[in-house]
């Protein structure tokens, strides 16, 4: 990333080592050279696919290549991903769709095809796992990789192995990604975001403090909008200001977050890469085309989402004990409500009934723009949904549900529906899979 052309490095296209002072590869002529003093030593990487959903859609429909593409649900939904062409017009992910279309009226809006993205995401992950067993997926399209100790296996440095991996994903899967290489997770993640798309950024230990100093506090993992505003209220805007503060002061003011601020502002992050870190929750949510307030509108959506969550639990062979209902009001205020069950569940019926109990208390004429349902406290399904002494119908509903599952597995999801959702035709676009 530095202009200093005397540092060691290589060409990202042909992997030839760079020569001093050259601006293009002497072998292939590519300008995509990466140089860094610590490049041979760093091994912790964050890999993030570029505008993942949009890139996949462009791959599968070449006509879209030079057009602005937005992936998201309906006019009222939010942008889940937009391609880099759309970003030129100011479209950003999580932006309400109507705003995105104001900014970029000729954008092509595509409804997300989660199954396709999940399958492409799995292909990318398979290639990652060939690099190192230490792959920690963060979401469908990004992961941390620890390549320490893989030099002998790949007969090359982690930095070059990652460049080769990026090229392979482009060749074999047809999508692009960005790599951030550093010595810790925090800076690897920051680095992968620096040169998107097709980026490759390196942040070394020696430069970490200087690199972070001028950046806004929101760079630090865990500092969201509210906390950023609180810090700004206290006069703290840049990471550099945090670097000058004592840990005692920060902890007194901000508690546990103070410690994190102290450590991360100094580029000090001891978190390791945990492969297969189990999901903590399974949830599904949807943003409505128009705000809804009546229970006859909200309940079918809740039922459909509950079925979706239940299907994921069953597929992953897990069960959850706490049901979480999430609502967002028309004025963007979030409400979450929890209920802990006596025993873990996998059943759409229990998730739905519990969610309904929570939802009924919130229906008071308030208009909602989003509804979500999820489960946490995940465990093995071994003791899930025990027989019940006083509700013999629960057992029969469970049997009915397993029959519905079987029919759906054979004839597709629409083959059999409950009266709750039948004919309601409401789209339930999942915007989140498993959350970490």
């Amino acid at each position: 990333m530095s202009e200093t052309t005397h540092l060691p490095g290589f060409c990202r296209d042909c992997l030839r080592p760079t020569r001093a002072a050259e601006k293009r590869c002497h072998g292939c002529g590519s300008p995509r050279l990466v140089r860094h003093a610590e490049i041979a030593k760093l091994s912790l990487a964050h890999v993030d696919c570029d505008a993942f959903y949009a890139t996949v859609e462009k791959r599968d429909n070449p006509e879209l290549v030079d057009k602005p593409v937005i992936i998201g649900g309906g006019r009222r939904g939010v942008v889940s991903t937009c391609c880099y062409i759309a970003r030129i017009s100011g479209v950003r992910s999580a932006m309400p769709m109507f705003k995105a279309l104001e900014a970029c009226p000729d954008a092509i809006v595509i409804k997300p095809n989660m199954e396709k993205y999940a399958s492409v995401g799995r292909d990318v992950r398979t290639l990652m796992q060939e690099l190192t067993p230490l792959v920690q997926p963060i979401s469908i399209d990004e992961a941390f990789l620890d390549l320490a100790g893989t030099e002998l296996l790949h007969k090359d440095s982690p930095a070059r192995t990652l460049a080769r991996f990026a090229r392979r994903v482009e060749d074999e899967i047809g999508i692009t990604l960005s790599v951030g290489l550093s010595y810790c997770k925090f800076l690897a993640k920051v680095a992968s975001d620096l040169e998107k798309p097709r980026g490759y950024s390196v942040i070394g230990k020696a430069e970490a403090m200087d690199f972070l100093a001028p950046r806004p506090v929101s760079t630090i993992w865990g500092v969201g909008k509210a906390f950023e505003a609180q810090l700004a209220g206290d006069g703290i805007k840049t990471v550099g200001q945090l670097q000058k503060m004592e840990i005692d002061t920060l902890m007194r003011r901000y508690g546990v977050m103070g410690k994190r601020l102290y450590e991360l502002s100094r580029g000090d992050d001891s978190r390791t890469v945990h492969p297969n870190e189990a999901a903590k929750s399974v949830s599904a949510e949807t943003t409505f085309n128009t705000d809804l307030s009546r229970s006859e509108d909200l309940v079918p959506v809740l039922r459909a989402l509950s079925e979706k969550v239940s299907a994921r639990l069953k597929k992953a062979e897990i069960a959850g004990q706490t049901i979480v209902l999430k609502l967002k009001t028309a004025d963007f205020k979030s409400r979450t409500r929890n209920h802990k069950l006596d025993a873990p569940t996998q059943l759409a019926d229990r998730i739905f009934r519990t969610g309904l109990h929570l939802l009924e208390r919130e229906i008071d004429g308030t208009r909602f723009r989003l509804l979500g349902i999820g489960v946490t406290d995940l465990t093995s399904p071994e003791q899930a949904d025990p027989a019940d002494l006083v509700d013999p119908l629960a057992g029969r509903r469970a049997v009915a549900e397993s029959a519905i599952d079987k029919v759906r597995a054979k004839f597709g999801k629409a083959a059999l529906e409950t009266g709750y959702t039948f004919g309601k035709g409401r789209e339930t676009t999942p915007q989140r899979d498993r959350d970490k």
């Binding site: 209920h339 006596d342 025993a343 009934r353 003791q383 025990p386 027989a387 019940d388 002494l389 006083v390």
Partner: protein
């Protein structure tokens, strides 16, 4: 209002009433206790709109009157005053504060007007009976642990009490269940509860009743209507709303055809279950009971930490059987059995099991097995 009384009397009464007051309240007056001085006594009253406790205690009333002050605050103050001191409660002339004076300590508390304090004691009671404190406590103790906390089934969030014709005449029966286990206790019906409606006493009320029934020699007056229950225990009066719902038909749940009989020594069994369940920190883990002639093997497997087994000599002569139960639920039941031996009536690994005292059947328990 100006009243003087002994700290110990005030503390005892406040201790009874202040617990009703929820720690967090959106309605300010519900955080307060009502104090009413009249004649030769001070009456205290607290409520959460579902449950109300009133208690009167002897006091020197110099000037009759009433006010309300924050309940937990007053309780904490009185608790910290030195033992044996005299406490004077005086409202100031404009009624917006009350001073608490004891020795050289003086506190001033903000008041809310008495007129705003809600009153729960409206409506007539249809049935009245008198019952020994001990009997009522027994009904509660034996069933309380099985009350459901699952709010989605609010009608299980309490103890179902009703009068029922049994073998030896009319019984007063208490039943509680959370769907995993069921507890049922009977006593001979006191006169007056004939034809009493079936009532569901909410969990919080049950807890308060249990604490108020600490003196075994007291006779409690119970008044019941469709919607409310009132207990008079000495100088304490507890009035509570009942859960408005239908308790499920529990009789159907109690198995009658279970033919495999297991007799265990209660204490030995409980200790063994407790020991083997150490291996699993998780609350929901199952303990497996493997039964063979004269022998019971308890096993707990925890894939994360290891396993435990223990063998017990028991009374059993039916076909071998393996069945799993939640260890905590087993202990909850054995804790409540009063005799030295417990009798389990089993059918198969998937069906409800019946547990009772070998001594009698005034209390019985039904337990749902777990998959092992």
């Amino acid at each position: 209002m100006r009243v003087t009384l002994e700290r110990s009397n005030l503390l005892k009464s406040l201790n009874h009433v202040h617990r009703v007051v929820e720690r967090r309240n959106t309605i300010p007056i519900l955080s307060n206790v009502l104090l009413k001085a009249d004649g030769a006594s001070l009456e205290m009253k607290a409520t959460d709109l579902d449950l109300e406790i009133t208690e009167a205690t002897a006091a020197m009333v110099e000037q009759a009157g009433s006010t309300t002050v924050p309940a937990h605050l007053l309780y904490e103050i009185v608790r910290k005053l030195s033992d044996g001191s005299e406490v004077a409660l005086t409202t100031n002339p404009d009624g917006n504060s009350m001073t608490v004076t004891a020795g050289r300590s003086k506190f001033s508390l903000q008041c809310l007007p008495e007129a705003d304090f809600p009153d729960l004691t409206a409506g007539a009671f249809t049935h009245t009976f008198r019952i020994a404190s001990n009997d009522l406590k027994m009904l509660i103790d034996r069933t309380q642990f099985a009350i459901s906390t699952e709010e989605t089934r609010y009608y299980l969030n309490g103890i179902f009490m009703h009068a029922i014709e049994g073998d030896g005449g009319l019984k007063l029966r208490a039943v509680a269940t959370d769907g995993h286990r069921l507890a049922r206790a009977d006593i001979e019906a006191p006169s007056g509860c004939e034809g009493m409606p079936g009532i569901i006493v909410p969990r919080k009320t049950v807890g308060e009743m249990q604490k108020l029934l600490d003196d075994p020699d007291v006779v409690v007056t119970v008044e019941v209507s469709e919607a409310k229950i009132r207990l008079t225990i000495g100088s304490v009066v507890l009035t509570s709303k009942l859960i408005d719902g239908t308790f499920p038909d529990y009789q159907r749940v109690i198995p009658s055809g279970n033919d495999k009989e297991l007799t265990v020594d209660c204490e030995t069994f409980a200790k063994a279950v407790d020991r083997v369940s150490t291996i699993s920190s998780e609350r929901g883990r199952a303990v497996k009971l493997a039964l063979d002639a004269g022998q019971l093997t308890l096993t707990v497997n925890n894939p994360d930490s290891g396993s435990a087994t223990e063998e017990l000599a028991v009374g059993y002569d039916a076909d071998p059987l393996e069945i799993g139960f939640n260890a905590k639920y087993l202990l909850d039941i054995t804790n409540q059995l009063s005799g030295s031996e417990a009798v389990f009536m089993l059918a198969d690994p998937g069906s409800p099991t019946l547990v009772r005292d070998s001594a009698g059947d005034d209390a019985l328990y039904v337990l749902m097995p777990m998959r092992v």
